[in-house]
């Protein structure tokens, strides 16, 4: 799909982004807890790498919200 024209965010899309942000936050907390009890170097390394990816996921979604901010209609009632 080359023609990636941006459309205003639907309510449904906003809900999915909100749910996904909450999932990512929960995963970050779970990984951090696992990291604190981990005694295995290999696993600790994987946890650190994964934590970074989840941070990126969160940033990606926040950026997406910002991109759509200007296109969103302002409430009229």
């Amino acid at each position: 799909m080359n023609n990636m024209q941006m459309k205003p965010l639907s309510g449904k899309e906003l809900d999915y982004i909100a749910d996904s942000l909450s999932n990512e936050n929960m995963l970050i907390k779970l990984y951090a807890t696992a990291r604190s009890v981990s005694a295995n170097a290999q696993i600790s390394q994987v946890i650190d790498q994964h934590l970074q990816v989840h941070e990126q996921h969160t940033h990606q979604m926040i950026e997406m919200l910002k991109q759509h901010q200007q296109m969103a209609p302002t409430q009229s009632h």
Binding site: S10, N23, L30
Partner: protein, 132 residues
């Protein structure tokens, strides 16, 4: 004796490394499903692309975590399917596919608008690490 009992009861209350990783693995599976649903429900192409990327990225994390857990004996791999069952499955699949194929060809000839065309590209090897 007293200490031992205390340690034991503490050990029962606390989750260990393996428990946490199992919880994370389940949560990654659930998150992948939600990203997939979000992808199919997206109307904006840019949002759809983002959810597609997030699905793939989370699938990679889930696969990687599974591999590490399996290597560290934190996950019992399911037992292999017997050869006989696979043989049977291949036979059924081939028969069913033949039927579906014939049907698609018949319909194509009736309407004249469609004729069968291979819509699946040649199968590439999947023996590389699927989690990268």
């Amino acid at each position: 004796m007293m200490n031992q009992q205390q340690n034991q009861s503490q050990g029962q209350q606390m989750m260990n490394e393996s428990d946490y990783l199992n919880v994370i693995l389940s949560d990654l599976k659930r998150t992948v499903r939600e990203y997939t649903t979000a992808t199919t429900e997206s109307a904006c192409p840019v949002v759809r692309r983002m959810f597609t990327d997030l699905t793939n990225s989370t699938l990679r994390l889930q696969g990687e975590l599974f591999q590490v857990m399996e290597q560290n004996k934190m996950y019992t791999a399911p037992s292999p399917a017997p050869r006989q069952m696979i043989d049977k499955e291949i036979q059924t699949a081939q028969q069913d596919h033949q039927q579906a194929h014939q049907m698609s060809q018949q319909h194509g000839m009736q309407s004249g608008a469609f004729y069968h065309q291979n819509n699946v590209s040649n199968h590439t090897s999947n023996v590389q690490n699927p989690y990268t």
